[in-house]
């Protein structure tokens, strides 16, 4: 197909809120889900992506284009990923991890997961509750019991709630 003829093929992707995006096939097949569709020959018209909204899909396509423009240099790819994710808020990250999972893009999935984990690293319970607007629904007895159950993990650990 594309590689054989030498002309770049463009795919059209459709988000679940009906936005249409054009993307080079060579970039789009970073997604195993899309690659399978292309290989099965069902990528002729518009490819509907029912689990991804337009805003997230736009981000993902930016990523696809960006990362596929970089030659096989893991260092450079990594720094691109870091930069790409650096300004994303938590909600966007959560949407992206779902999208990456659905699109089966392991490199994005791993990077976003690591980024989300980074946000939650070394934080106290209080911070987690404040940050995510979680209401403490434990009774004091329950909370004490859960704390006791988890005590072994906290030996020698200090939390870092600065950001």
């Amino acid at each position: 197909m594309a590689a054989e003829t030498g002309t770049p093929t463009t795919l059209t992707l459709k988000s679940n809120d009906d936005e249409l995006f054009s993307v080079a096939e060579s970039a789009a097949i970073l997604s195993v889900t899309i690659r399978n569709m292309v290989e099965d020959g069902c990528a002729g018209g518009v490819i509907p992506l029912d689990n991804v909204d337009g805003k997230t899909l736009a981000s993902v396509i930016t990523y696809m284009n960006g990362i596929s423009a970089i030659p096989a240099d893991e260092e450079k790819k990594k720094s691109y990923r870091d930069k790409f994710l650096s300004d994303k808020d938590f909600e966007t990250l959560a949407d992206m991890v779902l999208a990456a999972n659905y699109l089966n893009m392991s490199c994005l999935m791993d990077a976003v997961s690591a980024k989300i984990a980074q946000v939650m690293e070394k934080k106290s319970v209080g911070w987690v509750r404040r940050k995510f607007g979680i209401e403490n629904d434990y009774t004091p007895e329950e909370e004490a019991a859960v704390k006791e159950e988890h005590k072994w993990t906290f030996e020698g650990v200090e939390t870092d709630d600065d950001n």
């Binding site: 808020d89 938590f90 909600e91 959560a94 991890v97 779902l98 999972n101 999935m109 791993d110 997961s113 690591a114 989300i116 984990a117 980074q118 939650m120 690293e121 070394k122 934080k123 106290s124 319970v125 987690v128 509750r129 404040r130 940050k131 995510f132 607007g133 979680i134 209401e135 403490n136 629904d137 434990y138 329950e142 909370e143 859960v146 704390k147 988890h150 072994w152 993990t153 906290f154 030996e155 020698g156 650990v157 939390t159």
Partner: protein, 586 residues
């Protein structure tokens, strides 16, 4: 900071597998912090998926996924398993002691829901070679994971023809991943709260009297009153004799004969073994649990009783010998012996007044014993600053300890680092009916930078000769990585008329007789790397060759043959200087 109102919805809306991918980059404490936030999150982070990821993340090479899945069947959850693994995985590896000089190598590796410390016996390679003939080993200790993931320590030992286990506590701060010393200690403890109160109440009063009396006794001995809670005398600060006797007393009192059903294999050889190992583990854990929940925890022993045993060690052997196995027996022994103990103590006190030299030691010992109302055995993993010479740590010869050998990860430039088996002569360690066996050497190869040169050092950690020539930890050879040898490899075929190709060679020097035993000399030689993966060191002058092959100790031990252990303390650390094989000949 403004709360991200969608946050909890977002966190909770993530599917399980995504959540476990995310949490796999978090530490266990971070995962638990999430769980503490609210019930829903706790339900999510308590999933097996999350904790299986945590277990895999530890990256324990010897525990592949299939093993984790098998182990999971014996515990409450992957979280419980993770707790155990975090606690014990820093112990996995090769541990050594200077004595005996033939080598004291204990390989700590996974068993079944356990770690097993296996001593490699100094031995010869049989006619079948290393691959076919079983390697001889003996169990030193075991750390078993219980249902909820806490670790139960058992020292192994053999006395008067019976195999015993000596239960104790594993003292290991989970944060300490770099522990390099394992110490066998006696530890003062307080009677744990709970237990069977009805059983202990009447005794508690007696115990009170006893403690106050023994306090009075120690005060008069040391001549000062100190607050037992604020000052803690660590075991390591006691004199060698006191430490030795404390360990002797505790192991003579707190022990169990291993039931026949449990005295079988310690790790699986095939899938069919899991059933037997499962039963064995339950038996040992039952022994451990029953006793530690009873008022007289047999992993511990009343301090005053120890006082008594220590102060008249020559006269109490008969008492020591007839006990213990069951907790009831122990408590009965304590009750009945109480008056006797106190009478003895006051007599001893009289006799001690005359020997003032021992009184400082005595006061240390009393201070030690006073900081708890019982004592018990413990295995303490510690990180100490150790100096080393040519990759061999300098060790205390009076500590009941094992020292960990740093195993550098094999990266591209350190390709020969790690453990090797070696025999003198060619062909390597096998066959020839006339010569039934060759001494097996264990050699640890490491790399060191010295004066701008990169050196490869082959440290001898075990040898199977009958009488040792060079000290334990001697460098069998040191070669310069950047200096190829000018020598030709002396052998052309491998004994089966296959042509041998030499891949690389290095020049350096090999061990030789020097100034006395302690200071070996060295003579020039070359190390050859053969195409088939073997290493051969040849002394230039004598043309003697030492042939090395990579070893997978875990695999060899699984196929190995268990031999009898020594008595418990010697089985852990053999501190007497000796040049011959103390582990064989049973």
């Amino acid at each position: 900071m403004l709360p991200d109102l969608c946050g909890s919805r977002l966190l909770l809306s993530l599917p399980d597998d995504i959540f476990s991918v995310i949490t796999s980059s978090l530490s266990p404490s971070d995962v638990c912090s999430l769980g503490l936030a609210c019930r829903d999150l706790n339900a999510v982070v308590s999933s097996d998926k999350v904790w299986l990821a945590q277990c895999s993340k530890l990256g324990i090479k010897l525990l592949p996924l299939s093993t984790l899945v098998e182990w999971r069947k014996g515990v409450l959850s992957y979280r419980a398993l993770c707790r155990f693994l975090i606690d014990v995985h820093p112990l996995i590896g090769i541990w050594v002691h200077q004595n005996p000089e033939l080598g004291n190598v204990v390989y700590v590796m996974p068993g079944f829901l356990s770690l097993v410390g296996c001593r490699i016996i100094p031995q010869e390679v049989g006619p079948l070679g290393l691959e076919e003939g079983p390697i001889l080993w003996t169990p030193v200790f075991e750390i078993i994971c219980n249902h909820v993931g806490s670790a139960s320590f058992f020292l192994h030992g053999r006395e008067r023809g019976d195999d015993y286990v000596y239960p104790g506590l594993l003292k290991n701060s989970s944060a300490d991943k770099n522990c390099n010393v394992l110490l066998l200690e006696v530890e003062p403890r307080h009677q744990s709260e709970g237990g069977k109160l009805t059983y202990s109440k009447s005794f508690a009063r007696e115990l009170d009297n006893e403690v106050s009396l023994s306090n009075k006794l120690s005060r008069s001995c040391s001549g000062r009153v100190s607050n037992s809670k604020s000052q803690k005398m660590p075991f390591s600060r006691l004199g060698f004799g006191d430490r030795r006797r404390l360990l002797d007393v505790v192991t003579s009192q707190i022990r169990n004969i291993v039931p026949k059903e449990a005295n079988v294999m310690l790790f699986p050889r095939s899938k069919n073994d899991f059933g037997v190992l499962y039963e064995r583990r339950l038996l040992l854990l039952q022994m451990y649990d029953e006793e530690s929940s009873s008022p007289f925890n047999p992993t511990e022993l009343g301090s005053s009783d120890v006082c008594k045993s220590l102060e008249c060690t020559t006269t109490t052997t008969s008492v020591d010998q007839c006990h213990v196995t069951k907790s009831k027996t122990l408590s009965g022994f304590l009750k009945n012996g109480l008056k006797h103990i106190l009478r003895k103590s006051s007599v001893d006190q009289e006799s001690q007044k005359s020997t003032s030299s021992s009184s400082r030691c005595q006061s240390k010992l009393h201070e030690f014993l006073r900081s708890g109302d019982r004592v018990g055995l413990s295995l303490r993993a510690a990180t100490m600053k150790l100096s080393s010479y040519r990759a061999w740590p300098n060790m205390h010869d009076s500590r009941f300890a094992l020292y960990k050998l740093p195993l550098h990860p094999s990266n591209a430039c350190d390709e020969y680092a790690g453990l090797w088996g070696a025999t003198f002569g060619w062909p390597p360690g096998r066959k020839s009916e006339e010569k039934p066996g060759k001494a097996l050497f264990l050699i640890l190869i490491s790399y060191e930078e010295s004066e701008g040169e990169k050196l490869m050092i082959g440290t001898k950690i075990l040898e199977g000769t009958s009488y040792v020539l060079h000290p334990n930890g001697s460098a069998m050879f040191i070669v310069n990585v950047n200096q190829p040898s000018m020598e030709l490899f002396p052998i052309e075929s491998d004994g089966e008329s296959n042509y041998i190709e030499v891949k690389r060679s290095f020049s350096g020097e090999g061990v030789a007789n020097g100034y006395g035993f302690r200071y070996p000399g060295s003579k020039p030689g070359s190390l050859f790397v053969l195409e088939n993966g073997l290493l051969v060191f040849m002394w230039k002058e004598s043309r003697v060759v030492l042939t090395l092959q990579r070893l997978d100790l875990g695999e060899l031990l699984r196929k190995g043959e268990r031999v009898n252990s020594l008595s418990p303390i010697s089985n852990f650390a053999y501190l007497t200087k000796t040049y011959s094989n103390v582990y064989s000949g049973f």
